[in-house]
């Protein structure tokens, strides 16, 4: 496995007229990484991809691939290959011609191309399908052909623009594993664009969370899930319960936050915000549904929450309990099904406790809209 070629975005700004699509992006992507840009639609992630692939010149700043400045280098001259959201296979070319188009461009003979196509078709587990036309294949097979076509160009960096979004759920989950395996096998850098946090978390070495043209946080999946840098990252990635309040007191890496309904609650200040919070500031605190545990009703303290149960759901592996949360927002609690008897609590108050390490505090900010 080669070390792979890294990609750097330095002070990257992309504007369309007055609209700022990407604002001062600074990203270092390690060679051989599976790197995802995660964000809602319209956050500028596809724009970044187009700037890396060369279809778009940044307004300011630069794109470096393997340390080389890509300014003025067209998409046909960059060591990148792009997999489009709709795959963009050539409908009138056979599968093997599609796959080896990049070799045809360079003038390789039909025999050479056919040989390479057969190798790649073996790799994507579609042997003997080379003479078909793209429309004769299933969605998942077309997906694999698109990957083979991009890999055939032997790019240093493979760019993927939500390539799984057109597939059904089951196939999508299967393709996640497959993509990850292919990436490990070929060892090149993958840059993956998605709005699906599940995809980003399962596949990526590192993730950049984007919102409205701004990169909120860069880190591996665990860091982003457990230690979000902004309220947006906390609410966009995975399910989360938000508690709004004001900072009462900050002590080393914890903050005591006074909330309207649940009194003063203690939380760990997220790493990115240490030293940035002081008493009197508006703050937000996030606790994941699975971070709660049942506590005796009425228990008091800085890591207990009491609220009325509004609804319950049995999911098999867990009980989902919905409660009246802070500020009218519903709070979700997920308790594992360990065979305990579980009587209905609907309409009743319930007290929950949490480990302070699992509650994250940060300055108040915009939440992801569902």
């Amino acid at each position: 496995m080669s070390a792979g070629v890294g990609v750097d975005l330095e002070k990257l700004w992309i504007r369309f007229g007055d609209f700022v699509a990407v604002r001062d992006a600074n990203v270092h992507i390690n060679g051989g990484d599976f790197f995802s840009f995660l964000g809602p639609s319209g956050c500028g992630k596809t724009t970044i991809l187009r700037a890396v692939s060369g279809f778009l010149e940044p307004s300011e700043g630069q794109v470096l691939i393997g340390g080389n400045n890509m300014k003025g280098i067209g998409p046909n001259k960059r060591p990148t290959a792009l997999i489009f959201q709709n795959l963009a296979l050539f409908p009138l070319m056979k599968v093997w011609e599609n796959i080896t188009f990049s070799m045809e461009v360079k003038g390789a003979s039909a025999k050479e191309r056919r040989k390479r196509a057969d190798e790649l078709l073996d790799m994507i587990a579609l042997p003997d399908q080379g003479d078909k036309l793209p429309w004769e294949l299933s969605g998942g097979q077309r997906q694999r052909v698109a990957i083979a076509r991009a890999l055939c160009a032997e790019p240093d960096v493979l760019l993927l623009d939500e390539p799984l979004s057109a597939l059904d759920l089951k196939l999508r989950q299967h393709m996640r594993t497959e993509l990850r395996e292919i990436q490990k096998r070929v060892g090149i850098t993958f840059i993956y664009i998605t709005h699906d946090q599940g995809e980003a978390l399962t596949m990526s070495d590192n993730i950049a969370v984007m919102r409205a043209g701004v990169i909120d946080q860069i880190g591996d999946g665990k860091t982003i899930y457990n230690d979000p840098a902004t309220a947006f990252a906390a609410s966009f990635v995975g399910e989360n319960n938000v508690f709004r309040g004001t900072v009462k007191q900050v002590q080393s890496d914890t903050a005591l936050i006074s909330t309207n309904r649940s009194g003063d609650l203690l939380a760990r200040v997220s790493s990115a915000n240490q030293g940035k919070m002081k008493a009197g500031d508006d703050a937000m605190m996030f606790i994941r549904p699975e971070a709660f545990a049942l506590a005796p009703v009425g228990a008091q303290g800085d890591h207990f929450v009491t609220a009325t149960v509004t609804n319950e759901e049995f999911e098999g592996n867990a009980f989902n309990i919905f409660m009246e949360g802070e500020g009218g927002k519903e709070m979700k609690v997920s308790l594992p099904n360990l065979g305990q008897s579980f009587d209905s609590h609907k309409g009743q108050p319930m007290t929950l406790q949490y480990d302070v390490q699992n509650a994250v505090a940060m300055p108040a900010g915009d939440l992801a809209t569902e």
């Binding site: 279809f55 188009f101 461009v105």
Partner: protein, 306 residues
């Protein structure tokens, strides 16, 4: 009743269905097939004065076709060199006009189809509006431009490019320009239609994989646009080969278009059978030529309708 007919009547009802079907049949049979068959019939008959039509002398004959090939009986030449040459030149010129139009129109159609913005609509309008002017007027306008004392010659001489005016009309340049111009839209729009539906990502994908622009057109755009290209070429070729007004007005004095010969037979010589035979030969040759080319370029008949 075949299934498609049954479905057709189920969908439209018996009354409306019959009216629609009747109109279509009247159009194809009454207005196209029967008149053509009658022309075909004419072409095999001798040219007789009206009282003798249907009389004992009115027998089927190959005379009219022989005339095109061999000329008048007892003529000085073995072949009807004059008419055959006109026939040949008409076909070659029509092919030339078609190729010229394709080369001119493909980039325009591609640009129109793959560019977004309001200026495209204005551009398309500028292409369409001149066609509000009728064909004869347009032909005469080109005469004014291309004539010996015309605008173009005045400009060229004034600019010092030519010493003496160039005779565009005698050299058929005016005619080719007129034919090319007359059918530009018929070439642009079928190609435009197809290219407009081409996914822009395909072009970008090809570009991303290192293809140059000529390569992208050769491997991605043109194969995709083939149905549009072939229907455009078919129309332009058929219509140029069958054009009459432009050759009448802009043709040089010595260069006849085959349609003019047909016209002369019908009109000046009042020899309908002879004219019909010439027209049939032109029609059949054009159809065979188109079919042969479609076969050569692997175009299906269904594609032409796209």
């Amino acid at each position: 009743m075949p299934r498609f007919l049954k479905e057709f009547f189920d969908r439209n009802g018996l009354g409306l269905g019959s009216v629609m079907l009747g109109l279509v049949l009247f159009w194809t049979i009454g207005l196209i097939i029967l008149p053509q068959l009658s022309m075909l019939d004419f072409s095999f008959r001798p040219n007789l004065p009206p009282p003798e039509i249907g009389g004992p002398k009115d027998l089927y004959t190959m005379e009219n076709y022989k005339y095109l090939v061999f000329g008048p009986e007892g003529g000085s030449q073995d072949y009807n060199a004059v008419d055959l040459k006109v026939f040949y030149r008409t076909l070659v010129a029509a092919i030339f006009v078609t190729i010229f139009n394709l080369i001119l129109c493909y980039p325009i159609a591609y640009y129109l189809a793959q560019t977004k913005g309001n200026h495209i609509r204005i551009f398309a309008l500028m292409l369409i509006i001149p066609y509000w002017i009728n064909e004869i007027l347009r032909a005469f306008a080109l005469r004014i431009i291309f004539g010996e004392t015309g605008v173009l010659n005045n400009l060229l001489v004034a600019a010092g490019i030519f010493d003496t005016p160039f005779d565009f009309v005698r050299n058929d340049i005016a005619l080719y320009a007129a034919l090319g111009y007359a059918y530009i839209l018929l070439m642009i729009f079928p190609i435009y239609n197809v290219i407009e539906s081409l996914d822009r990502n395909q072009i970008e994908a090809a570009r991303d994989m290192g293809a140059s622009w000529p390569m992208i057109h050769r491997r991605v755009v043109i194969p995709y646009a083939k149905p549009g290209i072939s229907s455009g070429c078919t129309m332009v070729f058929m219509l140029s080969a069958g054009a009459l007004a432009a050759p009448q007005i802009l043709g040089g004095p010595s260069s006849l278009w085959f349609t003019q010969l047909i016209y002369q037979q019908f009109n000046d010589n009042s020899d309908w059978p002879q004219g019909a035979a010439y027209a049939v030969v032109l029609l059949v040759t054009c159809i065979l030529l188109v079919l042969a080319l479609m076969r050569l370029f692997k175009v299906n008949m269904g594609d032409i309708g796209k």
